[in-house]
Symmetry: C2
């Protein structure tokens, strides 16, 4: 079963007056911030984000060999079919890494192919580290000067949101975006993400608030460069977190293989969904 992710702004949509005919060219120029480029494209196409997940099982399902050539064929097929229809695609880095350096060359080519369709690419890498290592992850994936040339990437914050600040800085400089996992779609994440700080907030709530402060401090735009990942399977809890993220794009995975439906997202994120 395919995996889809819903990507949208909440709760207020940034008003970017980009004429329909000019929207696509912003993808190439990469001068406007990611959030504005996304909103313009989502209006033209669809806000759904297509996951590119060439797992061993998926390659087998397509009758492809489990090697770099099979990986390339899978990604080419998916990008040619889907990329023109949506605002963004999300290749999962792990499925490229398991084929070694040759697999990462296919990741690079996949980003390039999607970009040729004017589609934004969110590299799902869930990276996170400190200091110069964080800088290196930002330099690896974000913007046209990076080797993988992603428009955005996902991040993991076990080392604290502050540890990711160097990546946020690179994202701002390059007009790229980041999505920090706040509340994941899997049940095993609940214990940690619901743990409480001394002030009573959960870990997820604290990260959401810190993202909002960082976005507001860095820019007067309605949407900042730091988005959040909120599992579609988390329902009302994720919707509550969305309220704490007024300046963030939201990436909502879990539709499809993980059991949530687009109807679930419409229900749980009702107030925000209407503003997509």
């Amino acid at each position: 079963m395919a995996r889809y992710t819903h990507l949208f702004s909440a709760p207020r949509r940034a008003r970017v007056g980009i004429p329909r005919s000019r929207a696509v060219c912003y993808r190439t120029a990469m001068t406007l911030p990611f959030s504005q480029r996304f909103l313009a494209l989502a209006k033209e196409r669809s806000p759904l984000c297509v996951g590119i997940d060439p797992s061993a099982e998926a390659l087998k399902g397509w009758g492809l060999p489990d090697d770099a050539a099979g990986l390339r064929a899978f990604c080419q097929g998916l990008v040619e079919t889907c990329a023109p229809l949506v605002a963004s695609v999300k290749p999962q880095s792990a499925f490229f890494e398991r084929h070694g350096p040759a697999g990462l060359e296919v990741l690079r080519q996949t980003v390039e192919a999607a970009t040729a369709h004017g589609t934004l690419v969110i590299v799902d890498a869930k990276r996170g580290d400190i200091g110069s290592t964080a800088v290196a992850y930002g330099e690896a994936f974000l913007g046209p000067r990076s080797p993988f040339r992603g428009d955005a990437m996902t991040l993991s914050a076990y080392l604290g949101l502050g540890s990711l600040a160097p990546i946020f800085e690179i994202a701002r400089r390059e007009g790229a975006g980041v999505f920090v996992v706040i509340r994941s779609s899997n049940p095993e994440g609940s214990e940690l993400q619901r743990a409480r700080l001394p002030d009573g907030r959960s870990v997820a709530e604290c990260l959401a608030d810190e993202i909002t402060v960082a976005n507001a401090a860095a820019s007067s735009d309605e949407l900042g460069c730091i988005g959040a990942v909120l599992g579609a399977t988390q329902g009302a809890e994720a919707a509550e977190l969305a309220k704490r993220l007024p300046h963030s794009l939201l990436l909502v995975p879990g539709i499809g293989a993980q059991g949530a439906t687009i109807a679930d997202v419409r229900r749980d994120f009702a107030r925000h969904y209407g503003r997509v």
Copy 2:
């Protein structure tokens, strides 16, 4: 300034009666579990783990170009000089990823070169994800059948320790090791890692206990395949966490550039250090 990490067992050292002359061959065979191979080699060489951190700044400091060729020269030099002296080296994946697929080919070659010296390689990747994606990360980095052929890798647990179970399974199957970040050396990580669960334990304490349960359930060996990363800068707090991890190897970064000294580690981990 160089970065060193201390890697050791706590609190009880597994008794592996490997004759000195035979220890190195276990590196190649990769049949014994990682922890036993590490302990045998640490007895012969040093338990210090040398970080391979070819940041932009480090390449500049060595007078090397900031490209894949400079990266290769840096890693070759460091491996030839240091790898024969220590039980393990720890290349930081981010510094290879920032050079794209060519950089990841250098990572592969660096692991190969260290392996040729009989040295164990811990890929510092801090990966973490769920389901088939977690499987893919394990398949990418762990064991001689993986493209990067690491002996161990570091993991991040924001999605819950349970989400990493597929990687633990691959580690066991391949005789490899993993190190989950429990308490990081940077100050920004404290808020999240000290957040409390309903039963009063901190997030870090809970992860430590879950690791101990998982190690004990999977094997009757004194040391399991799941180790932990505990920041040397966290002093007594990290030492308390070490007590909760009787079946884990401990990777203690923060010595050198981050301000902690080997004397700090000796003091804070006194009871455990004596058993290295």
